[in-house]
């Protein structure tokens, strides 16, 4: 087990390191950062001075090392748009995204798992048919479109919920449904197939033969074992969420990291851009690591791989 954790940890660090190279490389591929400050009155000498001041006269590997050694400490330089450190800008936006992601996550769990279980237990009935329908429809609906249609129905038509922005609970409902529904559908689908596999297995038949009650077989025996599959899906869900937050925050004007990433990239604000992208990557890799390890804890067969 220790070996497994160590191996996963090293792999994660390698990915993270490659991601920093990628971010740095892309930000430098965009061209010399000094061009952002140049006006028509800037002389060549001033530009040369800037290049020395920002360390741009040094070879790229040295620049990368300097940038990385600061970035590790959370220093990404000053934001080019706002006159404050990029890290502060990012820190201010983080809670909004975490709030949205947490609520969407709970929403996906609360819908996806019961639908999946119901679908499997009542296999072949109308319940199952609608459950599978829900899974297929949920996974095929592009969330940017779903957000707009929800706004059309609940904000424009019935005037029940606000169209955009962050505020009370009512502001959260539409974005959370939009972000969580795809994952809820995926979860329902995986829970269903895992439950079906469990309900067909020998130990469930034995439990039934022994006279364990129906409810107990479903929840105590089958559900607990089937739960491993949805747990692994949590990693994939988070992957969907990073893409999702960027889109959902754009649709609903949610003041979080996703929208920050889009505006920073559009404004060529490289300090904020690299800070946001790396923060997303760290969260992404971190969650995948936790999922892998907890999966291996639950199911010893995984450790061999």
């Amino acid at each position: 087990m220790k070996r497994f954790i160590a191996k996963r940890l090293i792999a994660s660090i390698i990915i993270l390191w490659l991601a920093t190279v990628l971010v740095f490389g892309l930000s430098r591929a965009a061209g010399d950062p000094t061009f952002l400050f140049i006006s028509e009155y800037t002389t060549d000498e001033v530009i040369a001075e800037w290049r020395i001041e920002f360390g741009l006269d040094k070879p790229l590997p040295v620049q990368y090392f300097n940038w990385l050694s600061k970035a590790v400490l959370g220093d990404f330089g000053a934001s080019l748009n706002e006159v404050r450190p990029a890290a502060d800008v990012v820190k201010q936006r983080l809670p909004a995204t975490l709030e949205l992601a947490a609520v969407s996550f709970l929403f996906a769990l609360a819908i996806g798992i019961p639908v999946g279980v119901l679908s499997a237990v009542k296999r072949g009935t109308m319940w199952d048919l609608s459950g599978r329908m829900f899974a297929l429809v949920g996974q095929a609906t592009p969330n940017f479109w779903m957000g707009i249609i929800l706004v059309l129905i609940f904000s424009v038509q019935f005037k029940l919920l606000p169209t955009s922005g962050r505020g009370g609970l009512d502001h959260l409902i539409l974005p959370a449904i939009t972000l969580g529904s795809g994952s809820a559908a995926g979860l329902a689908r995986l829970t269903r197939s895992a439950m079906l596999e469990m309900l067909d297995s020998e130990f469930i038949k034995f439990a039934r033969a022994k006279g364990v009650s129906g409810q107990s077989v479903v929840w105590k025996h089958a559900f607990r074992n089937a739960l491993i599959v949805p747990i692994t899906y949590a990693g994939l869900m988070l992957a969907a969420f990073t893409t999702g937050t960027v889109i959902v925050e754009t649709v609903f004007g949610w003041p979080g990291l996703g929208r920050l990433a889009v505006t920073a990239i559009n404004d060529n604000d490289f300090p904020v851009m690299s800070a946001t992208v790396l923060l997303f990557t760290v969260m992404y890799i971190g969650v995948n690591l936790v999922v892998d390890i907890s999966y291996a804890l639950v199911d010893p067969r995984i450790r061999q791989v």
């Binding site: 792999a11 892309l26 965009a30 095929a140 592009p142 940017f144 707009i148 249609i149 197939s193 995948n288």
Partner: protein, 302 residues
Amino acid sequence: MDSTVTTELESTNQDTRSESLVRRLWQIVRRYPVFPVTILVAVIFGAAFAPMLTTYDPQFGDLSKQMTPPFWNEGGSTAHLLGTDSLGRDIVGRLLYGARLSLWIASVVLVAGGVTGTVLGMISGYFSGWVDEAIMRFVDLTLGVPFILVALVSVIVFGPSLGLIILLLIIFSWSGFARQIRAEIIRLKQMDYVAYSKLSGASNVRLFGRHLLPGVFNTVLVIATLQVGNLVIAESSLSFLGVGIPAPKPAWGVMVADGKNFISFAYWISLFPGLAIFLLVYSLNFIGDWTRDRLDPRLRQI
């Protein structure tokens, strides 16, 4: 009395016959993906014959006819069945040409990503060691870094273009193939027939082409059908954010974005292209599931 009995019998006979016809139709619908295939065929047909099905230009509109509603709404006309957008472009026309873009991009990406992923996955699985390690770390990287952010940054850096978006989607899609095919090859290479063919002096090329490739072909097909829907969603999401297919082109994602700000009074601009994406992805996913259950039920976990 006799006659009434026979007529009753006949009528029940007919009932069961018509009922069995309904039942048989229902069984066909349940067994084969009839509706999804119909939708897919319709989309392909629309894409293929777009210039013949519409007379409107997908990129230039009639500014005097901005935001005409669909024909069933007040103010709509049958000249523009689903209405026009804010630049007076016919929605139906743009949808048809948009189908071309979506299908074309999805197929190019699927073929390129599928071939790259399969070849690298086979190499990785067959030759373990540093080659395997390098390829798998690269797979980890592409799966471990949020795709959308990489796409956003690259588009800003290199400028939006069709080529770039295709390249990005290929990078996004090949790793799924590589991982699965690698696992498959690791299983296959321990089989006796592979050892025999090596013993009889088969070259690596022959071994790969004649003996290993046929073994993984079903898996490749299944992954491809399962992935294509996600590709369409990924492409339209990027187009929606303005970093996918460049703007005047009638990509469905771009069309949804076009109508976003007018949603309170011109719902049709966003509604129909989104519906088109949904229907296409729904049928592709449905057909994908069906193919998987037919060809390789072991992949059910994907």
